[in-house]
């Protein structure tokens, strides 16, 4: 019971304090990779804390046994002990119900998001493969469109797409910069991080609205990660100039939280970025603090130490 209370307390504190701290933090922008880890770590640790709290409420104590049969027997006797006391039984049922709801919600969200992703990708890919030209730039699809756009389709059959407009308004160096940025997204598998953030946000944002913020911030930071990767091969100024040449477009709700809004910010960051040495330390410390409860929970599950039976 005590551990359940502590875990729920952690979940509440973390979800109210940490997001604000991360948004204001300078180290997050200076080392965007660590920033992404921090945001995702925060989300996952809060989820883990809630799940562990439900588990510890419903089963009193858990021990990881090597034999599944012994484990099941232990659960059954544990449950039987719980049900002996009327109060215990109610808490057990509540805990199990909530746990079931959490798991079901997560699975539903994963299925919905996954299906939409696969469908969208399939449609866009088959259109692109026919409509775009492959013989203009090696390994890049070119759309005959006068506005300057660049994007990538990440995943197994990854594709980088640019428009004719982009090829005509940017210098060769700048085109290289944009391509390097898109390829970094593909190479570093950013779409997987975004998918995970999207599934969690879709599942639980009705009860935890800050998850939407976590998703947006992660997308924004991933753009900066790709910028950093591109800068390594082409230089900051080239990338910055390339970004300034991109077309002004209609802001839509869909893209508002992602790269569309981030471009101005990315430009500023590329212009003024200084090496903030303590950033790494601060970031590492934050990540350790955020993940401490996860270790605590894992230790509980493994040794049944902290958990006290009802």
């Amino acid at each position: 019971m005590t551990s359940a209370v502590l875990l729920v307390l952690y979940a509440l504190l973390a979800s109210t304090i940490a997001p604000r701290a991360l948004i204001g933090a300078r180290w997050v922008v200076e080392t965007p990779r660590l920033g992404v880890v921090a945001w995702q770590g925060l989300v996952l640790s809060v989820l883990a804390a809630v799940v562990a709290a439900m588990l510890s409420l419903s089963l009193g104590f858990l021990r990881l046994c090597h034999e599944v049969a012994a484990f099941v027997h232990l659960c059954v006797t544990g449950l039987a002990q719980e049900y002996q006391a009327p109060g215990g039984g109610l808490v057990t049922v509540m805990g199990l119900n909530l746990l079931g709801m959490i798991v079901a919600r997560l699975v539903w969200s994963a299925v919905v998001v996954g299906r939409a992703e696969v469908k969208q990708r399939g449609q866009t890919t088959s259109m692109l493969d026919i409509v775009a030209r492959r013989d203009v730039v090696p390994d890049v699809l070119v759309l005959e469109h006068e506005a300057a756009y660049a994007f990538c389709l990440p995943g197994r059959d990854a594709r980088v797409v640019v428009t004719r407009g982009l090829l005509e308004s940017l210098s060769p160096d700048q085109i290289t910069a944009v391509l390097a940025h898109e390829r970094a997204h593909i190479r570093q598998r950013h779409h997987l991080v975004l998918l995970s953030a999207s599934v969690l946000s879709r599942a639980f944002s009705p009860v935890a609205p800050w998850l939407c913020m976590a998703e947006e911030q992660t997308a924004r930071l991933l753009e900066m990660c790709a910028d950093d990767a591109a800068c390594r091969s082409v230089g900051r100024e080239t990338l910055r100039l390339a970004l300034t040449r991109l077309v002004p477009g209609r802001a839509t709700p869909v893209l508002l939280g992602a790269s569309a809004c981030a471009v101005g910010e990315r430009l500023e960051r590329l212009r003024t970025r200084r090496r903030f040495r303590p950033a790494m330390l601060v970031g590492a410390a934050a990540v350790v603090v955020a993940s401490a409860p996860v270790f605590m929970v894992t230790r509980d599950l493994a040794f049944g130490g902290l958990c006290l039976p009802m």
Binding site: V113, A116, E117, Q120, R121, T124, S126, M127, L128, D129, I130, V131, A132, R134, L143, E144, H145, A147, A148, Y149, A150, F151, C152, L153, P154, D157, T163, V178, H181, E182, H185, H190, H191, L194, L195, S198, R202, A219, L222, A226, L243, T244, L246, V247, P248, G249, R250, A251, T252, V254, L255, A258, S259, A260, C261, V263, G264, L267
Partner: protein, 115 residues
């Protein structure tokens, strides 16, 4: 599957650059492939393209004559519209990696650069 998609692209290239309505035989003869493709392969590809809405066709004796439903530019415009507006109720990850700016950002940037 990837190779079939490539073949579809090559066939559409030919049809888009032609002003006439073409038969399968004509397309096959103008495809420079070593080893040459089978008639049935090209027939299947063009039939698929018709099914997917890229081509229209009319009977000409025993065979069909095919032509594109829309110019390449129109397909491109439709595709760009779809990508930019983010079809579906939630954005998917592929939409996220689109690089562009809002008019407000562009304006403020031009001001900052003293354009």
């Amino acid at each position: 599957m990837r190779r079939l998609g490539e073949l579809e692209a090559v066939v559409m290239d030919q049809l888009w650059s032609s002003t006439e309505r073409l038969t399968v035989r004509h397309v096959l003869e103008h495809l420079e492939r070593q080893p040459p493709l089978a008639y049935t392969t090209v027939l299947t590809v063009m039939d698929n393209l018709h099914r997917k809405g890229f081509l229209r066709r009319e009977r000409d004796g025993r065979a069909f004559r095919y032509w594109p439903t829309k110019a390449r530019a129109d397909f491109t415009a439709d595709l760009m519209d779809e990508i930019l507006s983010g079809s579906g109720d939630r954005s998917t990850t592929l939409m996220r990696f689109l690089d562009r700016m809002t008019p407000e950002e562009a304006a403020s940037m031009r001001r900052a650069l003293g354009d």
